[in-house]
């Protein structure tokens, strides 16, 4: 396709049944200027959005989707980035508008919502002042009273309770979800025709995410706005979008109506992505994943960019970049071999055998309490306590996975760290081989550390950037005196191969590896002393879906081979469904419900578990549950409410719930719940 020429309408295009497009993007290319030359991080994008339509731009990290959004808004620094092509909004080419006119478009005709509400708001201005600024800029209202009324109206529209009282609040006084609502109110101020939402819920908890998505979709319908939703989450796409465009390594590879895509993606990348996605109902299935890694942004690739990772790739795929092929009306794909069926999966034993019945107990947590003192004043007097963990009991079995599920701030990470004694328990016992870990110290504890290891969430922060991979993985061997010198080097090489890396990688620095590869290094480090329990603290939440599947597969394989017990800490119920044998749901320092995966996920009894489950975005239309909305905000763990901790937000609460702390009740089998209404 020649640059600067409007492309010929290809077959299956324009899309039938769609009225005149609001936004028309032709051959949009974003080149990053680097010392060694320019590199195209977004290459020849073309798509359209009709008025009132939702188009999801789906892709994994580094595929150029955020760059695309910023390029549409002309928010990329011109010194670093060259943008070519055409972006026509209602006829006017945004890339050629003078900057003055473009300023009227931003926030006026087109508004944008960012991922991090924390950084999208100015911390030193009140919420009212920030929304008022947007109102004055884009509506021409200037009277203080009129602006104020409009601000209150906007805040009310995005569901902020008692908006008039919130005007004088500063961003830090609001929760993450409320801040995102304020950001949305600012975006609405100019009555935009197009709203660009760049991962608007990725930084939020799952129950809040469901509310914000419902809000965005509701506003979009009411104002007949077009919505460009940028996301990596297939579930969100399925629940909110009309059409989707899949991006891979800077290129669009497929464009389809949502229903058609989820019924059968044409591009092998889309098919693999869908197979990689854990689902609430796909229990214990070994995840598929996509081998290899995305070419780095701006890499020059001859032929199809996905060919390296594609199991359908033919020689033609490596020599010529595929053009658009029509699949059906409104469905097109950039693939030579889209009509081919998938080869049968290599690993036929997809289901992981679940150990049944009672097995021996590896570690028993009994009434674990971890409080962090809040110190104030010169002498550091204790002014209060954050009750991070407030009476948690769990049992871990060899070779099995117990998942600890909860939203941010519920104390799940603290439980994990207390288990491996990285934080000292305030009270309670950790029974391991007849000894109470909570009472051990010094040399005795050091001797037991060998058996208890941990894998962290952030694959970047979890390793010392000044050590080579071999030293990182071999750290435990040396500190515990398990091996040294040549023996240690051999063991490190062996460990690296077990986690799917090469023995030569021991000599490289950690920054040379991608997020998924670093997580493998972290797993190898934890495996080195041959532990019997590994605490996996959100090991995949920083990773892309296709990489997450690889890591989950690796963890499952290692567990099969070595009978390691996992405490799998996660906020993602779909991942939990796939990984866990047993589940414990945590809220504000307590476990509210626990049992086997099937018991908890199929027959949730606690209202909080039900709300969590209902909030998970689901691809399959039949499996969707009506959303249960939780009232109010999560209270601070420094001042937990009396009685049942969940009662202020519980849709089923009785008067007695505010007075009585619910005891744990057995519902049969291993299913326990702490709810007064469960008896």
């Amino acid at each position: 396709m020649a640059i600067g020429v409007i492309p010929e309408p290809s077959p299956g295009w324009p899309l039938s049944g769609i009225s005149e497009p609001l936004l028309e993007v032709c051959d949009l290319t974003v080149r990053v200027v680097r010392p060694e030359g320019t590199a195209a991080v977004v290459a020849g994008l073309d798509f359209r959005i009709a008025r009132g339509e939702t188009l999801a731009l789906l892709g994994e990290s580094g595929c150029g989707k955020s760059m695309t959004a910023l390029a549409l808004m002309r928010l990329l620094p011109p010194a670093v980035v060259a943008v070519t092509g055409q972006v026509r909004l209602a006829g006017a080419d945004l890339l050629r508008l003078p900057e003055r006119a473009m300023r009227r478009v931003r926030g006026g005709q087109v508004a944008m919502i960012f991922q991090e509400p924390q950084t999208a708001l100015n911390p030193v201005l009140t919420v009212g002042a920030q929304v008022a600024e947007a109102v004055r800029r884009h509506t021409g209202r200037h009277g203080a009273r009129a602006v104020r009324e409009r601000v209150v109206e906007l805040l009310g529209e995005v569901g902020i309770p008692a908006p008039r009282e919130r005007l004088g609040d500063y961003p830090h006084q609001l929760s993450g979800g409320m801040k995102q609502r304020v950001v949305i109110a600012m975006a609405l101020a100019g009555r935009p025709q197009l709203l660009i939402a760049d991962e608007p819920t990725t930084a939020l908890d799952v129950t809040i995410q469901a509310e914000i998505l419902a809000l965005i979709v509701g506003l979009q319908r009411r104002h007949a706005m077009a919505l460009l939703l940028i996301t990596h989450d297939l579930g969100i796409v399925a629940e909110t979008a009309d059409r989707l465009a899949v991006m891979y390594a800077g290129r669009l590879v497929e464009e389809a109506p949502c229903a058609a895509f989820f019924a059968g993606p044409a591009h092998p990348y889309g098919r693999r992505l869908l197979a990689s996605r854990p689902s609430l109902d796909r229990r214990a299935a070994a995840p598929a994943g996509i081998p290899g890694r995305v070419p780095p942004p701006g890499a020059s690739v001859v032929g199809c960019r996905f060919a390296e990772r594609c199991d359908l790739a033919a020689p033609a795929c490596r020599s010529a970049e595929p053009a658009w092929h029509p699949v059906a009306a409104g469905h097109r794909v950039r693939c030579h071999r889209w009509a081919e069926a998938d080869p049968p999966p290599a690993d036929a034993a997809a289901r992981r055998p679940r150990p049944a019945g009672e097995t021996e107990v590896l570690l028993r947590v009994d009434g674990l309490v971890v409080h962090f003192p809040i110190r104030r004043g010169l002498l550091g007097r204790e002014a209060g306590r954050v009750r991070a963990v407030d009476g948690v009991s769990l049992t871990l079995h060899p070779g099995r996975t117990l998942a600890l599920v909860g939203e941010s701030g519920c104390g799940k990470t603290t439980v994990g760290r207390a288990l491996v004694r990285l934080v000292a328990p305030t009270a309670g016992a950790l029974w391991y081989r007849g000894r109470d870990l909570a009472r051990l110290g010094g040399r005795e504890l050091r001797a037991l550390r060998k058996d208890l290891q941990i894998v962290f969430q952030d694959p970047y922060g979890a390793m010392n950037p000044r050590l080579r991979v071999g030293d990182i993985v071999g750290e435990g061997l040396r500190t515990m005196g398990l091996a040294s010198g040549r023996a240690a080097r051999c063991r490190v090489a062996e460990l690296l191969e077990q986690v799917g890396l090469a023995a030569e990688d021991a000599r490289r620095w950690p920054h040379a590896f991608s997020g998924g590869q670093r997580q493998r290094i972290g797993i190898a480090r934890a495996l080195a002393p041959e532990p019997r329990l590994i605490v996996c603290d959100e090991p995949t939440s920083a990773l892309d879906v296709s990489v997450q599947a690889q890591i989950l597969g690796l963890l499952a394989r290692l567990q099969r081979e070595r009978a390691i017990a996992y405490l799998f800490i996660s906020h993602d119920l779909s991942v939990v469904a796939q990984m866990a044998d047993e589940v414990a749901v945590m809220y504000l320092g307590r476990i509210v419900e626990r049992g086997t995966v099937d018991e908890v996920l199929d027959r949730p009894r606690h209202p909080y578990t039900r709300a969590l489950l209902s909030a998970v975005p689901v691809v399959e239309v039949a499996a969707r549950r009506p959303a249960i909305r939780l009232a109010g905000e999560r209270p601070s763990p420094a001042r937990p409410p009396a009685g049942c901790r969940f009662h202020p937000r519980c849709p089923e609460a009785l008067a007695v719930c505010g007075r009585t702390d619910p005891p744990e009740v057995c519902l049969g089998g291993r299913h326990w719940v702490s709810c007064l209404r469960a008896g």
Binding site: F456, G461, N464, P465, E475, T479
Partner: protein, 273 residues
């Protein structure tokens, strides 16, 4: 790449300074040769920078003085950076009452005007090169301690430190292997500026007569000796004055360049070591 003059020129100045200081004992210099007929002689081919109030060649004394400045500059920084980093790192890592006590001590030292404290100490200890280094180090360690403590406090929350603890690493190993190497970059930058500060402080003490004693040469004492003749023989003050200016400016420029290089936020990208 094009040569960066803002780095090359200062590097050249500092290089010449270090060369002069290190080679001074082997050069045919006569810093202490009194030549009464040439008292206050202006620059001439025989003595490029002229002679001082006792007829001693200014250039020779300048080169010997470079040695004093270098010894004090690097000596003070070596001692105070080492002691300060150690104390700060321990305070930051151990925490609790140890930290509380050390922070109070640091605050007390910071409450004194540094140079006054150094003057008092140098007065008590008596003159001499070694005592100047001690006096300036007693004042100088505090900055490194504060910086090291802040660095360690923010680094010790990182997951890789937790991972090392989970693998059974003891506190000494964690400090030496997992914390200090990551905290080093800003400390090195601080130390670079510290050399310049120490050169000026030494010149100041010598100017007040608290540094090296006559007949040994130091830039500060040369300026003091020359001040009385400023109107008749300005070269006595100009020589050492310009030497101090050039060296301090060059070191500060190098420090800036070093900071720009090392101060890459997030250790993700930077190739270590």
């Amino acid at each position: 790449m094009t040569p960066r003059w803002s780095v090359l020129l200062p590097a050249l100045v500092v290089g010449l300074w270090a060369l002069a200081a290190l080679a001074a004992p082997w050069l045919p210099l006569a810093p202490d040769r009194i030549d009464l007929p040439r008292i206050l002689a202006p620059p001439s081919p025989a003595a490029w920078l002229g002679c001082d109030d006792l007829g001693r060649p200014v250039l020779d004394r300048l080169l010997v003085g470079a040695r004093t400045a270098l010894l004090v500059g690097f000596g003070v920084v070596a001692v105070s950076a080492l002691v300060g980093t150690l104390i700060g790192a321990v305070a930051g890592y151990v925490g609790g009452w140890v930290d509380l006590v050390l922070v109070r001590v640091i605050d007390v030292f910071l409450a004194f005007p540094g140079i006054l404290l150094a003057i008092a100490l140098a007065g008590i200890l008596g003159p001499g090169l070694g005592n100047v280094v001690i006096a300036l180090s007693v004042v100088g360690w505090v900055g490194y301690a504060r910086l090291a403590r802040a660095q360690i406090l923010s680094l010790k929350q990182r997951d890789h430190v937790l991972a090392a603890r989970a693998l059974g690493a003891g506190p000494v190993r964690i400090l030496a292997r997992h914390l200090l190497p990551l905290a080093l970059a800003p400390l090195i930058v601080e130390a670079t500026f510290g050399v310049a500060g120490a050169v000026i402080a030494e010149a100041g003490l010598s100017f007040l007569g608290l540094g090296v004693q006559p007949p040994a040469a130091s830039w500060g004492s040369m300026i003091r000796d020359g001040v009385g003749y400023m109107l008749v023989a300005p070269h006595l003050v100009l020589g050492p004055g310009l030497a101090i200016l050039l060296v301090v400016l060059a070191i500060n420029l190098l420090g800036d360049a070093l900071r720009d290089r090392l101060d890459v936020r997030g250790a993700r990208g930077a190739e270590p070591g």
